[in-house]
């Protein structure tokens, strides 16, 4: 290692620490605030609470008379998992098809999805709500999964960009060997697209996890609330509960990230096939 490289490494780490700090500090603030003993953000000394306790977390999970956090949590988990699985599946399939198949109307579909994504979405919320009343899907967690999953393929362009960079030569080789298109998709391209699948899964999990407009619209019963809706319904004096709830809401996504992280980087270039 020469001197220049050493210097380079040094600055890289300085940058990394700086960036880690920028991202971590507000999170840290929120985490520590949730352990605040007094329960009010205004009794802090500067950025951080004066004294800490586990009380708010205990309260969050035990005092469920008005605000049933555990219940909200499982509702959200159900919705997010459901829409993550179905949504990822649909998105990847759409992206792959759009990238690999030539058929009539392909470019039209590409252009129109591009344009459709631009419409201010909350204007359509009224329509979604009314539609769901007609289908009788108000107050059903399944109704939300349906909407999230159905909306997920709209963002397929990102994934399509990825498939576009996987060499088609691989497909053609497999085709000569007699593989059907379905087999080429499942056996060859899916394993290669792992980083993309992870990304898609992560985003389609996070979206329902943190969205509060749709569940607010479609779930009327307090028992069916998701965490985001529940937290927004908290009284303004319940700050510590809010902070504790917000910290805990981030946990599953962090866990999911650590479960999936090893799949994020072994893409094609490090994989078995080289072009």
């Amino acid at each position: 290692m020469n001197k220049r490289e050493k210097l380079d490494t040094f600055f890289t780490y300085v940058f990394l620490i700086l960036i880690a700090f920028i991202f971590f500090f507000p999170c840290l603030w929120l985490i520590l605030a949730s352990f605040s003993k007094s329960g009010s953000i205004y009794s802090f000394k500067g950025f951080f609470p004066k004294s800490y306790s586990l009380q708010t977390f205990a309260k969050l999970f035990t005092d469920t008379r008005m605000y049933n956090y555990p219940r909200w949590f499982f509702n959200t988990l159900f919705i997010a998992t459901g829409s993550c699985i179905i949504g990822t599946f649909l998105t990847i399939m759409t992206a792959y098809t759009m990238s690999r198949f030539e058929f009539k109307g392909r470019k039209t579909i590409m252009k129109s999805t591009m344009v459709l994504g631009m419409f201010p979405s909350f204007m359509g919320m009224i329509a979604v709500y009314l539609l769901m009343t007609q289908f009788g899907l108000i107050n059903h967690l399944w109704g939300l999964i349906l909407i999230y999953a159905a909306g997920a393929p709209m963002g397929y362009l990102t994934q399509k960009g990825f498939f576009d960079t996987i060499p088609k030569a691989i497909d053609e080789a497999a085709k000569i060997d007699g593989a059907t298109n379905f087999q080429i998709f499942t056996k060859i391209n899916l394993p290669l697209a792992k980083p993309m699948i992870v990304y898609t899964a992560l985003t389609s999990f996070t979206w329902p996890w943190s969205d509060f407009i749709l569940p607010k619209l479609l779930l009327k019963e307090k028992n069916l609330y998701t965490v985001a809706v529940g937290l927004m319904s908290l009284d303004e004096t319940q700050f510590a509960r809010f902070a504790a709830g917000s910290v805990f809401i981030a946990l599953p996504i962090v866990v999911l990230y650590f479960c999936l992280v090893k799949n994020m980087v072994n893409g094609i270039s490090e994989g078995a096939i080289k072009g």
Binding site: S38, S40, Y42, M66, K220, D235
Partner: protein, 481 residues
């Protein structure tokens, strides 16, 4: 193919005109029986009534007692009341028509009357109610609506919401009886007059720079607009019905705006945004603030916060002490001159914006008669009294207000005297909040601008600011029409 489609469309449009005519004919006939005909006295059997109460009533356990008492009484008839288990702010107009709304709702008059417009709530036979004579006319009036020349009443008033002054008795200076009780009525002067409150705030802050006297976020239109009303301002003309006349700048209301600015100057920058609204509970508790304004229903939250600061004693002792030291009272008087710093002595009453909360019955209920039964039960003397005791609210019933006494009685009196200006029951009221909030933010901010940058120097500047705000509200209402 295209031609075919056009033909089909034409055909269908022709079809629909004939169908349309037929349907129109029907509707004329069906329109005859109207009014609250559904209240035929035939009580529905084996029904469940979904009641949407406010969060405080649920949290403090009052609501549970109410439905338990009701269910006990009507068990034999098979009527059961349950918690609707919905957000207290959910929109009946949106949920009701599709069958997702509650049967009975409890809300403030502006909300309920918004529903009345689209007939989402039923007109009630209010004369039948046992509270009819006990509730003041103004409160009933807030729930009246005119349809085809007839007047209907759509809600049964339960309590009155109005801003109250909260202060800590134990933070008064030790010698207050000598120095701060000029009229010797054994009530501190600063909670009787804004002028004295102003002086006290200056003094308290001077002694210790971390301590303040009166603190409140100025940008809160609901609490701050009262200062405009006190000097002749109003929201809409003709008893809050004429939206073409926005009167927040009427008469001497600029004086009120100046009072607001003067009060802001004895606080700190926190009054510019909503910091104080959220931190008042803990700051009053730890003694940083001496007093603030809020509605009566948060009394218990203040008490809880105060309790936390009384360490070194048992919980019940701390609670007792907190209740003793935390005083809730009606608003102090204002100087007629509109200047908190001069020597004039003439005082006028401080008006405030307020609301009347009431029960109403959804038009989409399957059991209107049973719901009516519930509303009757919930507004009886016994239940209202319990409500007042458990929640510390000010009842709209005269007999209960007399019985409970104290603040409730005062609020009732203020309502009767028109010192509480009820929120308009028309939808245009939603246009006043943001312009109002912006104006008051500007006034509060002005107290902290450098002298050279100050926008509001003379009374005329306030007048101009108010006029602009009114113009903004008018524009918002008329342009979008």
């Amino acid at each position: 193919m295209k031609r075919k489609l056009v033909a089909m469309l034409l055909l269908s449009s022709m079809l629909l005109t004939t169908v349309g005519c037929a349907k129109k004919g029907e509707s004329v006939n069906a329109d005859k029986g109207k009014g609250a005909a559904v209240f035929d006295g035939k009580i529905e059997k084996n029904v469940t009534i979904h009641v949407l109460e406010n969060d405080t009533a649920i949290e403090k356990g009052y609501f549970k007692e109410l439905i338990e008492a009701f269910n006990e009484k009507y068990k034999s008839k098979g009527i059961k009341a349950v918690d609707a288990n919905m957000d207290q702010h959910s929109d009946l107009a949106k949920d009701g028509p599709y069958g997702y709304g509650p049967d009975v709702i409890y809300q403030a008059n502006d909300v309920i009357m918004k529903y009345a417009k689209g007939k989402h709530i039923l007109p009630l036979p209010v004369e039948q109610f046992d509270c009819y004579k006990q509730v003041p006319k103004v409160a009933w009036k807030a729930y009246e609506t005119k349809v085809d020349g007839k007047t209907y009443t759509c809600g049964v008033p339960v309590n009155v919401q109005a801003p109250m002054l909260y202060y800590r008795k134990d933070l008064l200076p030790a010698d207050w009886k000598e120095k701060w009780d000029e009229n010797k009525d054994n009530i501190p002067d600063m909670v009787q007059s804004w002028k004295k409150m102003y002086q006290f705030s200056v003094e308290r802050h001077k002694e210790d720079s971390t301590k303040y006297g009166y603190m409140k976020s100025i940008n809160d239109m609901y609490f701050t607009s009262g200062f405009l009303f006190s000097y002749g301002g109003y929201i809409f003309g003709k008893n809050n019905t004429d939206t073409s006349d926005v009167g927040l700048s009427a008469k001497n209301s600029a004086k009120g705006a100046r009072v607001v600015n003067q009060l802001a100057s004895v606080m700190n920058e926190d009054c510019i945004d909503d910091t104080i609204t959220t931190n008042a509970y803990s700051k009053l508790g730890d003694g940083s603030y001496f007093s603030t304004i809020s509605t009566p229903d948060v009394y218990s939250t203040f008490v809880e916060e105060l309790e936390k600061n009384y360490t070194g004693m048992s919980k019940s002792e701390a609670e007792k002490k907190a209740k003793e030291n935390l005083v809730m009272t009606t608003l102090p008087t204002l100087p007629a001159s509109g200047d908190l710093t001069d020597n004039s002595t003439k005082e006028i009453a401080c008006k405030s914006m307020g609301g009347v909360n009431a029960y109403a019955i959804s038009s989409y209920t399957k059991a209107p008669n049973a719901s009516l039964l519930f509303v009757k039960f919930a507004t009886e003397y016994k239940m209202i009294q319990k409500r007042a005791e458990m929640l510390g609210i000010a009842p709209a019933r005269k007999d209960v207000a007399e019985k409970v006494g104290g603040v409730s009685k005062q609020i009732y009196k203020n309502l009767d005297n028109n010192d509480i200006v009820l929120m308009p029951s028309i939808s245009a009221v939603s246009q006043i909040w943001t312009p109002g909030q912006t104006f008051f933010t500007d006034i509060a901010k002005d107290a902290y601008r450098k002298d050279s940058e100050k926008k509001y120097k003379e009374i005329g500047d306030y007048q101009k600011g108010l006029k602009e705000m009114c113009k903004q509200i008018e524009d918002a209402i008329t342009t979008l029409k």
